[in-house]
């Protein structure tokens, strides 16, 4: 897909307006805004990926596992020039590439098609293994999961395996808006820590804290950042 009217040079302050262009998925609104800062800081300061290098083999990968409520994600991708803001108004329409769950085949810059929970972390593990096998060891893999999404057993398989083999280029960010019905004893980070991950828990609205947590060294271990945001009401 090629676009002629892509703009860049958007900032964080443009995101609320970009998000407001998308309507029709209000039930996922809280899920969307919970990820806004977490995704922005990654794309703005951490990930080595750009619209020009969208297919570059050695790019960093960001996998949005929590595929519901993707408005913040789409807004950030538009702000970073992956597609024009004019697409946003079509959100969910028959002839729009932007669905209420993202499809990697339709949207430039979207690394996985998601929506069904519990697929992103296993796919991220495979991606990290694949990049290593291809000798692209500089590329980082990031996956965003929700705190309730961690209930899915497939995530536990991925957490246990990645920790056991020390998959260093794998990074997870858990957006914790307290939406799991039966939370984790000892907190979310404890689950990862017990499996051998490096962990950090921060305020998911604090850009500096997120950046620090994202870039913390974690030799020989996968890394998780638990980003706490206001509870879903």
């Amino acid at each position: 897909m090629t676009f002629t009217d892509v703009h860049t040079g958007y900032g964080y302050d443009d995101l609320p307006r970009l998000m407001s262009l998308m309507t029709g998925d209000e039930k996922h609104g809280p899920a969307a805004t919970s990820t806004l800062d977490v995704v922005w800081v990654l794309y703005d300061r951490v990930l080595r990926v750009s619209a020009e290098g969208v297919d570059a083999p050695g790019r960093d990968r960001f996998l949005l596992s929590k595929g519901h409520g993707p408005m913040a994600y789409y807004a950030v991708l538009a702000a970073k020039g992956f597609f024009p803001e004019s697409l946003l108004a079509g959100f969910g329409a028959y002839d729009s590439p932007l669905g209420h769950h993202p499809d990697r085949v339709l949207v430039p810059g979207v690394e996985i098609s998601s929506g069904s929970l519990g697929h992103g972390l296993p796919l991220a593990v495979g991606s990290a293994l694949g990049l290593r096998a291809r000798g692209l060891s500089g590329a980082a893999v990031w996956v965003l999961v929700g705190d309730a999404e961690l209930d899915e057993g497939s995530n536990h398989e991925a957490i246990a395996y990645a920790g056991a083999v020390g998959l260093e280029r794998l990074h997870a960010v858990v957006v914790d808006n307290g939406s799991a019905s039966h939370g984790r004893p000892g907190g979310i980070a404890a689950r990862f820590e017990a499996a051998g991950w490096s962990t950090a828990t921060v305020d998911g609205r604090d850009h500096e804290a997120l950046y620090e947590a994202y870039t913390a060294p974690h030799p020989g271990r996968p890394h998780v950042v638990v980003a706490r945001v206001e509870a879903k009401v």
Binding site: P57, V105, S113, S116, H119, P122, L123
Partner: protein, 300 residues
């Protein structure tokens, strides 16, 4: 003679040496066959432990980075348990891979129903674009595995079995082989069912087609054979998995011609018997005696 699974390990281990794009993903089952390959290619032989959802997800992730993953475990745990992963982590991502199963429908009757997956091919039939190979001999398994590994980014399922025909046939991936010709009908024998079918139809005036690739279904071969028959044609399918799995494929192939179809295979009801493969086949009516009775009763 080695088994199909042993051949899988030796052939794919060699393919790993030659093709840097290939990776093998295992969930404990079958890991012994890849001990040397894992030493030689530690980044491309991955054992995720007893985690079958992760097995499929890791395969999809490898494919997303440009690798060609080959995933192996028993059919129950490869296709049935993580079926939504198969659907979403390959097809919906727009990537492909090779699934190689063992145990199938009746390889370990003494193990019981937990280790049987007669519905695997029917399940894959609900998805778009999967090639399905069902070899009937270790040599054929080698041919089909090599073809699957080299099939670009296609999604391919290779169903290995402990049940084998006594001799390999000169198969070509994708096409049915005409083993014998007759006028009273067509019997399509899939993979390891061929020997039993040939014994069953001894003296009957029927054509026998041998199918080792069942998806896509070789409609051309079925139509060509049916075309030689006067009036309507009778077709019997003998499949080593859920009975009727390919009945619709035969109907589609002959949609514009008068025909009758009988689908034989593993019934839905649980047999709840242990024993051996031969005893199990007899119990399911798939031994030569049972097949002859049912085929003769169907033909006009």
């Amino acid at each position: 003679m080695d088994t199909m699974r042993e051949r899988f390990a030796s052939v794919v281990s060699r393919l790993l040496d030659d093709d840097p794009r290939l990776a093998v993903v295992l969930a404990e089952i079958g890991k012994d066959g890849f001990t040397d390959a894992a030493r030689a290619h530690p980044d491309r032989v991955v054992n995720v432990g007893i985690r079958e959802q992760l097995l499929i997800g890791v395969g999809g992730g490898l494919a997303l980075t440009g690798m060609r993953p080959i995933l192996h475990t028993f059919a129950s745990f490869l296709v049935e348990r993580p079926f939504e992963q198969v659907k979403l982590d390959f097809g919906h991502q727009g990537v492909g891979g090779v699934l190689v199963s063992a145990a199938g429908s009746y390889d370990w009757p003494a193990g019981g129903y937990t280790h049987m997956a007669p519905g695997d091919v029917a399940l894959l039939d609900t998805l778009d674009g999967w090639t399905v190979h069902v070899p009937g001999h270790p040599d054929e398994a080698e041919t089909l595995l090599r073809d699957a590994a080299a099939a670009g980014d296609d999604s391919v399922y290779v169903r290995l079995s402990a049940h084998s025909n006594s001799a390999p046939r000169d198969i070509a991936p994708g096409g049915f082989l005409t083993v014998r010709e007759g006028r009273r009908g067509v019997v399509i024998a899939v993979g390891p069912m061929l020997d039993g079918v040939l014994t069953a139809v001894e003296g009957l005036d029927v054509t026998v087609l041998y199918a080792t690739t069942v998806r896509p279904f070789d409609e051309r071969a079925v139509r060509a054979t049916a075309g030689a028959a006067a009036g309507g044609v009778d077709v019997v399918l003998v499949e080593p998995y859920l009975e009727g799995t390919s009945t619709a494929a035969v109907n589609d192939a002959l949609a514009d011609r008068p025909h009758r179809v009988l689908g034989l295979g593993i019934p839905r009801r649980e047999l709840r018997r242990y024993g051996t493969i031969d005893e199990h086949l007899a119990g399911q009516g798939l031994d030569p005696v049972g097949l002859r009775e049912r085929i003769s009763a169907f033909l006009r």
